[in-house]
Structure formats: structure tokens, C-alpha cells
Symmetry: C2
């Protein structure tokens, strides 16, 4: 019998009726003889409610002290969830026990609101599993070396689930969500989008980082690092569907190279409109300039996504990067006050009305001309490309936000994603 | 400068505006140079909301496992409060840090939902105070030896505040509530009721145990045991009233004998309609019978209040006691199934339509005839007394619930509580 981790999102935990449904689903897996760990999110809306209260009372500027309190408040959402789910399982006749992150403990660094998991102690959890209990662990949070509660940031429950699966050496980690798997692109934008039965870990990593909201990127990274088999599947199927059927549903994230000759070159189209673009123009092109620009940004805990520096002319270059929309104002202010004066750049510019569209596929490694097909497709639609960035298995472009849907539909069609099988 | 503990109830913490008001009040004390610890309750309604969710999902019968989860859920209410208050103080420019009970830690036994505090580690808190921070600690909860979250039961935040004050050797513990002090009786029943400027610890203990809802009895016990000066005062005065005025308001619970010759014989009339009466009739009067009856009740964690056993006739006696209304059904069932068959009692009877009315006063020690004046007063009103129980400084009677208000008003008048000064 296998050791299985289930993760349920906020919608799945959205009401006592839904929680009862989760309990029935977990009970089914437990009764089939599996050793079960469950990581539920806060009830939908709860984290927002808590953070709104915190925001009302918070001082104007955020400090480690204010962020510590914000985590103290936000972490309670999941604590309520685990207790409620434990009660619902007990009502189903299944022994269950809940733990907050600090009780396991799940140890993190001290980067409040964005903490990273450092280690997970499996002693307590293993003892409970040996005693036949389902163990329910809060997602999204842990404890730092000083005993403070930390949170992992939005979507952190996925990461918690995968990290727990890795620490426990689980056989599979099932992420139950409100979608039934990973699609070639967002079906709300391209109705012909198709669900992938399997997707490679690397493709998923690119999909996640590019804004496919199915899985948090850090969760995918963790899964890759520790080779945790990960499955994304729907929590909206009836709780009593046969377990064999459920175990094969959704999309499995695999670690094997696909050997199928029919392998599509491109597996999916990802997009993201939550980014903003910042450029420093006329930067003296000298060694260390990239660090001089991005060092302070990293110190301020702002994640940078695309980074582009083109060849220089007359000793000057332009340096561009993208950040999350939420960090845009903070990043602009930081550059204006601290970076611009030091670098000797001529000026800076920002644009928060952009989007990023990417084609992703393992097959791109061995197929030439994929990027150029992308550029031609966009050109035929009259869409101007502002930035280009590539990796082995993806090509991303930054374009005007208003062309996003047009670009995604055109690319989905151009790469034949509506048809065929994986 | 003194070390002061403030405790704020759920109403005081009822909204972000009210929390801001609490922050301003605490900031005033902090700026006056006092070292401040604050113990807030959950926002009003929050604990009920959480327990209602838990109840919806809980199995039919409660076990240590279900009660553990209930505590896990309920404890989050205070955790949100401390974080919000810390943010509000920081916004006021006052350094502040919040701790959940387990972080301090406040160590308790493992009696979930009714845990008792065993010890409080003052290391962290003292270090923060030394660094000039206001320390905010969750009321109502702690951690047991196995690392589980426990709660102290309803009203437990008072107890937490006093226990923290005792552990820290605080100069005074101020309990801010929605009443402005301790009255001779409930002003809603007797409009002429008068606020006491001081009340002795022993009187307060009797008042609290008799149902004056101002302070939780365990809080008063703790204050007595560790000689913590305790003041009950209003949180509805403006936050910016002069600190000297605020420091003398409300009712101070004192440990000195009052030497005033004018000392009233009776300080107050307490009452309680949250009790039910249970009698075993025709119990064979043999050694160990009281333990045989009440042992199982205590084992079931049911608190017994009044206990009466009268002299026996023909080797048989009647044995009566009162329990909280919430425990009535459980206690009756327990007696019926486990106790009645063993004791050989003829039958049992229960009544949940009773109330207890008590007169309380240190002066009763040295004045005879106080009890008889009470009985005469009730007799003149035609009120039948069902049970009588006395201690050094109080006399309690159990009467029909419907006569409660009449009895309280008559006694308040008979003992001249409307007039004079303390």
C-alpha cells in the first residue's frame, strides 16, 4: 500500500459541505489501505479576509515587524481548515489528527510572507501514520529558527504538499484543484484547448512559471528536485468515483523523456498578464552593471522574471526586466531612488500594460524553426514583439497586453494543439 | 515605572476601529513609561463562528481527539487578534510583537477545551520588554507537554492575563470590559445597584463563582494565589482620558482586610441561572457514598457547584448537587447509567429550572443573623428555598428560576446596598 499526499485548494475547502466531501474522498483512499497525508488550503476567501483586516490596521510602510504580524494573522486560515477536516474525517469514522506547520515542524527561513522551506521533521507524522491515522498538515506556513510563524506566500500550500511528499518519500502527491488537469492553454481563451494526460516536469516548470495558474512554480521545483510524482486533478468529481479511475485522472507530471515519435513539438501555450516591464536606458556598459541594477531589487525580495540586455552601442546599453505587477511600484521607486543615480543611466521607463506569451515543449530541443514560426505567426496578426527571451524548451515574448488573447489563439492554432494525442 | 498587564475582551476587539482604540489606549500607557503586556480576546463573535463551523463537522460523540481539533480551531481567534493589535500599535509608532500561547510558551495540562495553566516561561517576554516592545499574548490558550494546542475554556483570556501578570510579577493587571466595575448586583435587575470602588479578593471570588460575569473565577483564583492586584474597568471611556484618572477607575480587587468600621455586612448580591439541580433520593448512607456519586461526575470533567447531603433517616439519605446547565444532560445520563445502579438509591430527580442567589460579604464573618435576615426576606416575598449552602463570607440559596429577579431586588434592598459608601 502506498503513501499518498493529497492537497486540496481553497475552493475544495470552501464550506462545511465541501469539507465533508473532501473527507469522504480522503476516507475512500484511506479505506483502500493507503497511508494518507492531507494538506488543505484555507477556506476560500478566508486568507483575503484576514489580510484585509491586517491591511486596515497596518502602518504605511511594511517592515519585518509588520510582515511578521501579517504572517501570524494569515496562518490562522489553514489552521482552521486542518482542524475542520480532522473533525470531518473523525465523523466519517477515520482516525485523523491535524498539525500546524510549527507542530510538525516545517522549518523555514525568516523571509516573512515569502518564506522558503528548509527542512521537515517526519518523526511525528510517521508515528501517526504507523498508528493508522490520517495526518492533516497546514499548507502555506512553517516556523523559523527563532520560533516565529512564517508563511510561504500565495499558493504556498502546493509547495507545502510537495515538500511534505518529498520529506516523507511519498509515492504520489495529488493536487486537487478546480480544473481537471493541465491544458495546452487556458480553455477560457481557446475553447479548443486540450487536456494533457502527461506533461514533463520541465514543461510544467515552464508552464507554471509562465502563469498557468494550475500549480505554484515552487511546488513544481520541489517536485523536480526530489522527484515527487505529481498529479493535478479535479476536486469536482463525485467523492465516491472509483479510486482506480480517480488515480488515473488529471495530468501526471513525469520525469521520463517521452519517446513517442509523435511527440508534439510544442506542448502548450502559457501566458501571464501579471507582469510589468522596467527598462534602464543608456546604461554605461561596464562589468558588474547587471548586479548593480538587480542586486538592490533582489535584496528587496522582488522576484525578477525576464531579464534582457542587448549588445551595446558607443559604450551604452539598455537593460530591461519584468517583475510581478504587485512589485512594480516598489521596484520603480527603488530604481529611481537607489539605482538610477549610481549607474549613470540616462533614464528609466516602465510599462505595466504588457503581457508575456510563451510556447513550451520538450520537443523544441530537437526541432529548429519553432521560435521563428512563433514570430511569423505573431507578425501575421500584426502584433509587435517588445522583448524576446528563450530557453531550451520555451520561447517567450513580451507584447502589448491588449493582444494577449489574439496571440494565444493564433499560436495554439499554428502549433496544431487542438488536434492529435499526446 | 511599573510593569502593567492589560486585558481586553472581545467587544473591545470587535472591529478594526475598536482595535485602533485599544492600540491608542495601550500606547498612552506605554508612552507614560510603563512596561506593557496586553492579552486580547478574539474579536467578538469570532470564537462562536469558529466553534459553529467545528460543530457542523464534528462527530456525534466528543472524544479527546475531537476536542483537540476543536481547540486547534478555536485558538485561531486570539491569534488573529494579537497580530492585528500588534499592527495597530506599530501604526501608532509603538514597537510591538505578538505571541501565540505556544510561542511564549504558556504550558498547560492536556484537558482540551478546559486546560489549566501549569507554567509560563517569561524569558522571551522579558527580553522584548527590555528592548522597549509592547508584548501582546493570545489569551485563552497554551500548549501541552506533547506540543498540542489547548484552550482554557470560555472566558479563559481573563485567566491568561492574570497568569501572565503573576508569572511576570506585574504591578497591576487591568481587565478592560464592557462594564465599568463590580456592582453590588446586576444593574439590569436592580437599577439602584452601586459600583464598588474596592472589593476584597474573597468577596470577588464568591461573586465570580456565583455568576457575576465580570471576571472568570479562575482568573480571580490565580490573582489570589499570586497576589496580583487586579482592576476591572471600562474599555468604553475615550482612549485619551488622562492616565491618572484611568488608573483609579473601575473596581480594585484588594488583599487587605477592610478596617473601615462602616464596612457593610454584605457587599453584593450574586446570582446564577446557568445551573441545574440533580438529586439522588433514598441513598443508603454508608461511608464512601459521596465519592461513589461524584467520582464519575468529576472523571467526566463536569464541575459540581453546590453539594448538599442532609442527615439520614433509617439509614437512607438524599444527596443533591448542582451542575452547569450545559453539563446537565450529560450528568443525568451518567448518573442514570453508571451511578444509580451501583449506589442502590431509590430514584433520581433533576430540575433545570432553578437559579442560585447569594449574599456575599467579608463582614458576614463577624455579624450574626445575616443568613436569617436573608431567609426572612425571601419568606416575606413568598419564595420557597430548595437548597441552602453557606461559607464564611456567603450564603447561597437555590430557588425556582422564576423568582430570581424578585429575590435579588428584595435582598439588595434588605441589606441597604443602595445607600452609603464602601
Amino acid at each position: 500500500m502506498a503513501l499518498i499526499v493529497h492537497k486540496y485548494g481553497g475552493t475544495s475547502m470552501g464550506s462545511t459541505d465541501r469539507i465533508r466531501e473532501v473527507a469522504r474522498r480522503v476516507a475512500k483512499w484511506s479505506r483502500a489501505g493507503h497511508r494518507m497525508i492531507v494538506v488543505p488550503s484555507a477556506m476560500s476567501g478566508e486568507t483575503n479576509r484576514l489580510l484585509a483586516l491586517a491591511k486596515e490596521l497596518a502602518p504605511a510602510s511594511s517592515t519585518p515587524q509588520t510582515e511578521r504580524e501579517r504572517d501570524m494573522i494569515a496562518a490562522t486560515g489553514e489552521q482552521v481548515s486542518v482542524g475542520l477536516l480532522a473533525l470531518a474525517l473523525q465523523a466519517e469514522g477515520v482516525p485523523a489528527v491535524s498539525y500546524a506547520g510549527w507542530q510538525v515542524p516545517i522549518r523555514t527561513d525568516s523571509a516573512y510572507t515569502k518564506a522558503r522551506i528548509e527542512s521537515i521533521d517526519d518523526t511525528k507524522v510517521r508515528a501517526d501514520l504507523d498508528d493508522g491515522r490520517v495526518v492533516i498538515i497546514t499548507g502555506f506556513q512553517g516556523i523559523d529558527a527563532q520560533g516565529n510563524i512564517t508563511t510561504l506566500g500565495r499558493g504556498g500550500s502546493d509547495t507545502s504538499a510537495v515538500a511534505v511528499a518529498a520529506a516523507m518519500n511519498a509515492d504520489e502527491c495529488l493536487i486537487f484543484t478546480d480544473v481537471d488537469g493541465v491544458y495546452t492553454t487556458d480553455p477560457r481563451i481557446v475553447p479548443e484547448a486540450r487536456r494533457l494526460h502527461t506533461v514533463s516536469f520541465e514543461e510544467m516548470l515552464e508552464m507554471a512559471s509562465l502563469g498557468s495558474k494550475v500549480l505554484q512554480i515552487r511546488a513544481v521545483e520541489f517536485a523536480g528536485k526530489y522527484r515527487v510524482p505529481l498529479r493535478v486533478l479535479s476536486s469536482f468529481t463525485p467523492a465516491d468515483i472509483p479510486i482506480d479511475e480517480e488515480a488515473c485522472s488529471g495530468t501526471l507530471i513525469t520525469f521520463e523523456e517521452k519517446l513517442n515519435m509523435e511527440q508534439a513539438v510544442v506542448s502548450g501555450i502559457a501566458f501571464n498578464r501579471d507582469e510589468a516591464k522596467i527598462s534602464l536606458i543608456g546604461v554605461p556598459d561596464r562589468p558588474g552593471i547587471a548586479f548593480q541594477i538587480l542586486g538592490p531589487v533582489a535584496d528587496a525580495n522582488i522576484d525578477v522574471d525576464v531579464i534582457i540586455q542587448n549588445i551595446s552601442h558607443e559604450g551604452k546599453t539598455d537593460f530591461s526586466f519584468t517583475v510581478h505587477l504587485n512589485d512594480y511600484a516598489k521596484a520603480m521607486e527603488l530604481l529611481r531612488s537607489k539605482v538610477l543615480p549610481l549607474t549613470g543611466a540616462e533614464r528609466m521607463a516602465g510599462d505595466d500594460k504588457i503581457c508575456k506569451v510563451s510556447i513550451v515543449g520538450i520537443g523544441m530541443r530537437s526541432h529548429v524553426g519553432v521560435a521563428s514560426k512563433m514570430f511569423r505567426t505573431l507578425s501575421e496578426e500584426g502584433i509587435n514583439i517588445q522583448m524576446i527571451s528563450t530557453s531550451e524548451i520555451k520561447t517567450s515574448v513580451v507584447i502589448d497586453e491588449k493582444y494577449m488573447e489574439l496571440a494565444v489563439r493564433a499560436l495554439h492554432k499554428a502549433f496544431d494543439l487542438e488536434q492529435g494525442l499526446i
